[in-house]
């Protein structure tokens, strides 16, 4: 697959269809994002290692795509993207962080093994799949079956235990590709005291989970980043199930689809049928 992708990218660059391609490269044993502007650089393009390409770099307070789009307006870009990268792009489009205009998403599918690593339910781009075969996703978190069976008390105890491990490293937030705020409420003093451990339970983690109630793209980065192996996504999944049930909304599937927490259009429409008296 990689050779096909490289071939395709080479054509794009050589034919000047795009000015640059965002992808992952390897430098001195380190994986890092790279802006390919010459086809000769493409030897270093890799796709088999997971890299949070869309993640907002905290010092820059911006992700790579948004940065390039802002610095070089009008530059024709392509991005070599996994399913999760595409979903992140779509969610960020909805929130005004990146633009789809002048952007080609070169989507490729992950295989089943990769899907298992990330517990990814949709291991392929939904709109821009170009390379590879769709593999079946992993629908359920590895602890979900166990977790769902727990009583409220058991859940409460479970989380107390899990969160007592938290070292407040902000890894879950920093790795998240759909986190983009310039200031984070997880740092606001009324939720969390600077320098204090254990973290305020459960507000600290609740902030991010709630903000992502209809935004989480299930890429698994937060859990992969967590040094204490806290199964954070167990908290998000019921919310995602709910937004699916209530509003038929799955984050990251369609850049045109409006986030249900941003709008009350449906209610406005319903108003016509609402009994007022």
């Amino acid at each position: 697959m990689i050779s096909e992708i490289k071939k395709y990218c080479r054509e794009l660059l050589d034919s000047k269809k795009v000015d640059a391609i965002i992808g992952v490269s390897e430098e001195e044993g380190q994986w890092m994002p790279f802006l390919f502007t010459e086809s000769s650089q493409l030897d270093k393009l890799f796709v088999d290692k997971k890299y949070p390409l869309m993640t907002t770099s905290k010092p820059m307070k911006e992700n790579i795509l948004s940065y390039i789009q802002r610095k070089h307006p009008g530059m024709k870009l392509a991005i070599v993207a996994r399913g999760c990268d595409e979903r992140a792009i779509f969610e960020l489009v909805k929130r005004g962080q990146v633009k789809l205009e002048n952007l080609e998403i070169i989507g490729y599918a992950c295989d089943r093994r990769q899907a298992e690593t990330c517990t990814c339910p949709t291991p392929h781009p939904t709109k821009n799949l170009k390379f590879g075969e769709k593999a079946e996703g992993v629908k359920e978190h590895k602890l979900a079956a166990e977790f769902d069976k727990m009583s409220l008390e058991e859940k409460s105890r479970f989380w107390h235990k899990q969160f007592s491990k938290c070292i407040k490293c902000y890894g879950c937030r920093n790795a998240c590709p759909v986190c983009f705020c310039k200031t984070c409420l997880m740092e606001a003093h009324f939720y969390t005291q600077p320098g204090e451990l254990p973290v305020e339970y459960p507000t600290f983690h609740f902030v991010q989970r709630y903000h992502h109630a209809a935004q989480c793209i299930e890429c698994g980065e937060c859990e992969l980043a967590c040094p204490m192996d806290i199964p954070l996504r167990l908290m998000s999944q019921p919310l995602l199930r709910q937004t699916k049930e209530l509003y038929d909304y799955v984050p990251g599937m369609d850049p045109e689809q409006e986030c249900p927490l941003f709008t009350i259009k449906q209610e406005r429409a319903e108003e016509a049928s609402d009994e007022l008296f």
Binding site: R95, G96, Q97, F180, C181, K182, T183, C184, L185, A188, F190, H211, E258, C259, L261, F262, T263, I264, K265, E271, A272, S273, D274, L276
Partner: protein, 657 residues
Amino acid sequence: MSNCRIGVYVCHCGSNIAGKVRVDEVARYAKDYAPDEVVISREYKYMCSDPGQDLIKKDIKEFNLNRIVVASCSPLMHEKTFRNATADGGINPFFFQMANIREHVSWVTEDENAATEKAKALLIAAIHRVMHHEALEKRTVHINPQVLIVGGGIAGITAALQIADAGNKVFLVEKSPSIGGHMAQLDKTFPTLDCSACILTPKMTSVGQHPNITLMTYSEVQEVNGYVGNFKVKVLRKAKSVDHEKCTGCGVCTQKCPMKAPNEFELNMAPRKAIYTPFPQAVPNKPVIDKTICTYYKNGRCKACEKFCGPGAILFDEQDRIEEIEVGSIILATGYDLKTAESLPEYGFGRYPNVFTAFEFERLVNSSGPTGGKIVTREGKEPKSIGILHCIGSRDKKYCEYCSRVCCMYALKFSHLIKEKYHDCEVYQFYIDMRCFGKGYEEFYNRLLKEGVNFVRGKVAEITDAALEPSEEGKLIMRAEDTMIGTVRRIPVDMAILCLAMVAKPEAKELSHIFSCSVGKDGWFTEKHPKLAPVSTASDGIFIAGACQGPKDIPDTVAQAGAAAAEVLNLIQRGEVEAEVVTADIEEDLCSGCRTCVELCPYTAITYNAEKKKSEINGALCKGCGTCVGACPSGAAYQRNFRDEQIYAEIKGILAV
């Protein structure tokens, strides 16, 4: 916060509070809870009395206080009083917080201990909160005395005259070429039977001649920006193709014009020309050219009107243009439509020529109408029997659930007019209930009962021409259940009149977006309060009058127009209004431009600035609900006096006891 010097005042409210809450204990508790911040904590019999307020003012000076907390009644009752006292004492009125220990504590709690504990919690919450308060300035908004009225029916005309007579400039925008609205089409008005044109025409003429009224006919409002006192309005002035300054209204052009089209004013029962005035009493009584019909616009030839126009008023090259006006308040008086008869196929309108709509009949019976006032069938024959069908589309869950309110009365009026002209004509009223609720209405009904009209209590289910017996041949047969005698009747008539439901204008929804007000489920504009603010809308400075708010007759419409005019004059008289202080705003540095807030704002006060990639709140449009603040993931949006810090402090304090 160490720089806070708080004065705490616990009110007895006579025995209203002190009878249940141990006020001395509460006051002492506050002082002990935060000895550094609470400089003075007092209890007093009546805080709202003058001596009570003076206590606050005196303490501010004496103890150099910079925060005030009063534990007494509901802030909805006395917040203003104590804010004023705080301000009189020399500190910003928003450095004040109230704890409601009367309505929420002493009056609702049985147990003295529980009440005292709860009062402590509410007081401590207020102390925590007030530490995070900030100085806020009151803002006022100037009211531009110019007024826009949309719709030139009787509602718009009445309001325009009242406001203009009081000496204010009014822009009256009307979509069609003349003002007058539906009332101009009516023949007589119930129950007094005075001629509609006779009472309306003088008012129309006054509007046309009024020095304070700028009449903008053949025009539509396209865009409204701004807020109460300061609206900027874009009005589309459709090309009339006639220079109304030069035109003398002699009518020669209309005579000479060779092109004919159905006349909308006459419900298409008579023709008009391509260059036309809609009806003889039109205001302005000057023609417009209907570009869709005119030969010149079609193939570049003719120009007959131009040739015969003495003053040279024809302007074939005139283009639609946008005129911008600035007004301080707006009245919507956009009226109603009748439900289209075609949408009720069971009544055969269009299929059977002699099924008429109520408006068609109004024109038919009008002496200036297409038949010169003769009631005749479409074949030109005098009808021997007429059926008048009530509630067509109204009071019908399939169509409009509501009652259209005017049909019973005009149906009675029709009966009378028919009987006046053809005494022998059989008139049948098919009704569900007779609703004759207005002044003189029931009397009119009683009068009609004596005029030989047949009342059939039952709604016509269907009109058919399928005759079952010879007497029905060539007639329209009304099939209705007569609920008085409990049988289905078939009544053959020569002519049927459908009293169609009054419905909201199809463009009402679009107008509601333009004017940021709302429409209800039936499309009528929603008033701010059904009883106490019947002509206000949710948008300050925008009022509604007449049938655009719901079906109503002429007296009610005129009364509402007067009410709306009074609201507008009130604004103008005041000259300025106090703007909401507790509005929301966005901390620009913190905003990441995610636009979460934009769509949630009910007042379209939030816009996204694409250049800065930030959302911005127009403080003049914001009403201070804080929905955007509750949704902002970055904490960039904040609401004055309801900041996150303030509410968190309150939560902390309320749970500290």
